[in-house]
């Protein structure tokens, strides 16, 4: 599948929602914990070797599960491969919880569901569709009922 590495690289240089040096372990068997610079930009998680300017990897944060593992540790797994987990060991439990929260909210699908919820609530409360003024009230992707909540 073709994709532009340059586009992704460009994205990885954008200001991050969150960035930190975290110990990371890939799902491969026998993988060890390695210190990586982990950077959250929109719905992508980039990870870099700590002394390099370009990421070595990128994860699209859609259709994934962010799980709390043991103390200070969380994992990312994807619906298609639930047993293959990317593990992250934070410095503190607090940092761990912050990342879990941030990553769960980082998916386009999560934001879409939230938008639909607020749209519906505002419409119920005020009788007015808040998306009308943006000219996008007919867009299929913002309709209630077309997606499983």
């Amino acid at each position: 599948m073709r994709y532009s590495e340059r586009e992704l690289l460009s994205l990885s240089r954008q200001p991050a929602e969150k960035a930190a040096e975290i110990l990371m372990r890939a799902p491969k068997k026998g993988s060890v914990l390695k210190k990586r610079l982990v950077k959250l930009v929109v719905n992508f998680l980039f990870y870099f070797r700590t002394d390099e300017a370009e990421p070595i990897g990128a994860l699209l944060l859609e259709h994934c599960k962010i799980n709390k593992e043991e103390e200070n540790v969380f994992s990312i797994s994807f619906i298609e491969e639930p047993d293959r987990k990317y593990s992250f060991e934070c410095d503190t439990e607090e940092q761990c919880q912050e990342w879990i929260e941030a990553l769960r909210r980082a998916s386009y699908e999560f934001m879409r569901r939230s938008l639909i919820f607020y749209r519906n609530e505002i419409q119920k409360m005020t009788g007015k569709d808040p998306l009308e003024q943006y000219g996008i009230s007919e867009e299929a992707r913002f309709q209630l009922g077309t997606r499983k909540l």
Binding site: M1, R2, Y3, S4, E5, R6, E7, L8, L9, S10, L11, S12, Q14, V42, N43, E52, E54, P55, I56, G57, A58, L59, L60, E62, H63, C64, F78, I79, E80, E81, Y108, E109, M111, R112, S114, L115, Y118, R119, E121, I122, M125, T126, K128, P130, L131, Q133, Y134, I136, E139, A140, R141, T146, R147, K148
Partner: protein, 201 residues
């Protein structure tokens, strides 16, 4: 090896095959970088990603285009009708733009509209706006059912009930003010609110 970033493809492919319908789908023609010929593609927009296949129904997409930080512009060319371009003005210099052609005017306009509002950033700004409206609309009001439930709560018995009637009155006034302001804004702000704000149609 510098310049060799690994994108975790399994999850991207999984997303491209999600059960939920894509945000937009249809036939588009994509200009090849090498040959400059337009090649027919089946395209599906999901979130901030535009996937394309050789044919509808093919399993693996040929590729994907990331729709973040991009501009989508109509081309208005006499020789290449219904064309638009996806470019990255803030991207690295010399970065390629994608030239696409639709089959007719309506399809082109629909795609341009969908692609130019597909970014995560756009959705996030919209969401923040709606969140603000939600809070401003007095979302904290309670229903009579909640009121009754509160009466049975030992905590509420200890600290007492808030003045629900007063709160409802206050929220009602807030909503009316907001409505007046929204109406004003829709009319281009030409009028200022006059007289009694409690002026429902």
């Amino acid at each position: 090896v510098p310049g060799h970033m690994k994108l975790h493809e399994t999850s991207v492919l999984g997303y491209s095959r999600a059960a939920a319908p894509p945000d937009r789908q249809g036939r588009l023609y994509k200009k090849s970088e090498r040959s400059s010929a337009y090649q027919r593609r089946w395209c599906e927009l999901r979130g901030n990603l535009l996937f394309y296949w050789e044919r509808q129904g093919d399993r693996e997409p040929l590729g994907l285009i990331l729709l973040e930080g991009c501009t989508v512009e109509l081309q208005e060319s006499a020789t290449e009708p219904f064309t638009f371009e996806i470019s990255y003005p803030q991207g690295p210099p010399g970065h390629r733009a994608y030239k696409m052609a639709a089959e007719d005017q309506a399809s082109m306009e629909g795609w341009v509209r969908a692609l130019s509002t597909a970014s995560f950033d756009y959705l996030r700004a919209l969401l923040m706006e709606l969140e603000g409206q939600y809070r401003a609309s007095g979302a904290l009001g309670t229903t009579p059912l909640e009121e009754r439930a509160a009466r049975h709560s030992p905590l509420v018995a200890a600290v007492g009930l808030p003045d629900f009637e007063g709160l409802h009155q206050q929220f009602g006034e807030e909503i009316v003010k907001l409505r007046a302001r929204w109406r004003e804004e829709r009319a281009g702000g030409a009028q200022t609110a006059q007289g009694n704000l409690i002026d429902l149609e």
